[in-house]
Point group: C2
């Protein structure tokens, strides 16, 4: 991919178009040239910070005319290289657009700017008895979460960004501002452009405002932890719970190694065995009934030591530990970096899929953990690599590609929640076929004919 | 719009392309030239029945070359003129593609052909302890339901077609067959083409196979009926229930007139007052707790005579009556036809919206009922017209447009579930703006450059 570097004149002109700053300071370029993926960093030519939709419109219109690539940047927590400006050009920093515009408890919705972080939103919402449900591990921005179609541990109950973004204001490549979706819970008015833009990874438009669905904090929340003799038994127990239609709010699997790391990092003392974490939301009796039903089912799969708590501090500590699993793994192995795979399969294939993947990884010498949102059939292998040995990374990526091929062959997907980004462009074609990718490419081209928006992601244009 | 009529040679050639029949028999043309909307019938030039994806591909490829409009036809139950071939050409009859291909209880999904009717699917599913949740009143085909993004009384709990279609096989205008989506519950692989095609009203592709999410039949189901002194009180009670986060599976509003018609049609003896129908799904105690919570809330809004049943026959009878509300209204007024409006607003605006609409309708002399999926902020006004006085229809459509303008002004949508079709093309522009409609138009043009797929629907190309 040809790299575009900006001229002094272009940088000077960009400064007249935004209320925010334009920077070419090296540390700023560095900060905008990396994310949490294993892909090597790439600096943008400049970082343009925007403060309003109008700023974004003016900057995009100019970049479109000049053929300058534009890659939007939020928290930089992508695991698939989404924010890496591999064609140079500008990194469009959205973090100063961080206002919560409106909280509407009576409509169970909020309006926010794209730079608002999910934890900050939830802190504000909690004072209204509300919460925003989508929880990837990282404290991502809501704009980034919408752009990548993020999901998390509560998706099994409350859905991903695809279900929770009601409406968007966004700017097309030529600077046109459009609004899509509506503040209503149901909508059947024309093509579903909201869902087209959610998950398009910044390649179709830059999101400048979001209307999100929120939920009332449930009357009762309870968590449970249960250990299993084998990885397969734990996964099979989780799928059995889903099949019985029991309403779980969370159902997460962690393998024995992951539990070991988490114990050490979060100061817990869970038994170091394949483990399921559950959460139940509802009325006090409903929650208790659900937990009881789960307890009965998992016993059939050798689940033991079913520990149950409605204590809020213990519950929070447990889920904080689950969200910190990545950092716990790094902390237990100082100096390493993690490569996180992300695959999903139909429920009935989950135990087989996890077993196949473990066989593939364990035939190599890397440290790894397996964990995932098993009630959704979605799981991750976190493989640890030494950044001082870059040849490892290439081998690990080949291991990941082997797993993806097996998963696609059994009807699964190469990504349940992290997206295609840079590393799964070929896997997407393998999974969905040339025809569907060509449709994506044609839609991209008609909305962004100069191909300035996040070039090189999802497919080769 | 210029009408295309087929030559004898074209009809003869089409017969070589499909395994099904090609008909120009007048009664067949008539049957494919009308739906359940108030739009006047329009005959296609020919009806082409297809039996396989390959048939559809060959027929579309030929029509694309010849510039012949193609309008897919399923059950003909559209309320917005979707199946009317207003540009002539062929009606593509999908009803012989009616096989249930695969029922996978372990994956909670099914694969079906587009001509399968929802009730037939549910009959088959019930023997596996499963059900498909989306229930528009009519016994529509699943292909038609996906194409129009259908919803129904259970959408509040289980979602609409947008949430329940996992994957599609479809044929583009030039005959290219693509598959979109995946059999997994989570998917983040490229643009969400599944949701782009769902709700595109047959203007982007013809659906030839669907993978749908299904649910286990809940352990316990219970229904409740409660009357209110005023329409406003009933609507406010419903929104209060949603705001409290109580898990209702259904929550439907019927005004006093509608109850009168339903009583007579379904042989019920409900009190003729504004009424809410509820349904609860879950564990036995959970259902009881939910019902109790609802009972307490509605009492604050003057709700009385809370009648509750877990008897399966009574429950089914109640919901059959709700689904037959349209026919009950016609039956009570022989010779009339109904024009159904379809609007949705943010929850907090619902009582105001319904009140405003009632004020507008009641200033005219038409019989009407108001009913709706109020927990979703979605409601319908069914206005009765005498087909022998066609001037009434024009006036009723103007009444409908007045209501839509008010609803859009208060942040609502011109359609929560029926779609744009023929009658709301201007309302769509008013609601979402020229910019977003232009994006839809560009996507249409790049996927269907000859504009053969269901021309004249959603927007003017």
């Amino acid at each position: 991919m040809i790299r575009v570097d900006l001229s002094e004149a272009q940088i000077t002109h960009l400064k007249t178009l935004t209320s925010g700053s334009v920077s070419t300071v090296e540390s700023v370029l560095d900060q905008h040239g990396r994310d949490e993926s294993a892909h090597p960093p790439v600096r943008p030519s400049a970082v343009v910070t925007v403060q309003t939709t109008d700023d974004v419109s003016k900057v995009l219109k100019y970049c479109n005319g000049e053929g300058i690539p534009v890659t939007a940047f939020g928290a930089g927590t992508s695991l698939e290289g989404h924010v890496l400006p591999i064609a140079g050009g500008i990194s469009l920093d959205m973090t100063e657009m961080n206002k919560i515009l409106d909280i509407r408890p009576d409509d169970l919705l909020v309006r926010v700017e794209p730079g608002v972080h999910r934890m900050a939103l939830n802190e504000k919402l909690s004072t209204h008895g509300l919460f925003f449900s989508v929880d990837p591990g990282a404290d991502a921005t809501l704009g980034g979460m919408a752009a990548t179609g993020a999901a998390g541990t509560t998706t099994v109950r409350y859905g991903s960004m695809r279900e929770n973004v009601l409406a968007l204001t966004c700017v097309l490549a030529d600077g046109t501002v459009i609004t899509v979706g509506r503040e209503t819970r149901k909508l059947s008015a024309g093509f579903d452009l909201t869902r087209l833009i959610v998950g398009s990874e910044g390649t179709l438009a830059v999101i400048t405002e979001l209307t999100l669905r929120v939920f009332g904090i449930p009357e009762k929340m309870a968590a449970a932890v249960v250990g299993f003799p084998t990885l397969k038994a734990g996964v099979e127990a989780a799928t059995a719970v889903v099949k019985m239609g029991i309403s779980v709010a969370r159902c997460e699997f962690l393998d024995a190694t992951c539990i070991k790391y988490v114990n050490s990092f979060a100061n817990l003392n869970l038994k170091e065995t394949p483990t399921l974490f559950f959460e139940f939301h509802g009325s006090p009796q409903g929650v208790e009934e659900d937990a009881q039903s789960v307890k009965e089912i998992i016993a059939e799969f050798g689940g033991s030591d079913f520990e149950w708590t409605t204590d809020e501090t213990a519950r929070r500590k447990l889920w904080r530990a689950r969200h910190d699993a990545y950092w716990a793994s790094i902390s237990a192995n100082p100096g390493k970096r993690g490569v996180s795979t992300d695959m999903a399969v139909p429920l009935s294939k989950l135990a087989e899929a996890v077993t196949v993947c473990e066989k593939i990884i364990s035939s190599h010498d890397y440290l790894y953990t397996i964990l995932g949102h098993v009630a959704d059939g979605n799981f991750h292998c976190l493989i640890l690599t030494d950044p001082n040995h870059p040849e490892e990374l290439e081998e690990i990526l080949e291991v990941s590609r082997s797993m993806v091929r097996e998963i696609i062959a059994m009807g699964g997907t190469c990504t349940g929640e992290h997206g295609i980004g840079l590393g799964k462009i070929e896997a997407l074609v393998e999974e969905t076929g040339d025809g569907a990718v060509e449709v994506m490419r044609r839609i991209k081209k008609v909305l962004d004919p100069q191909l300035i928006l996040n070039p090189g992601k999802i497919f080769i244009s």
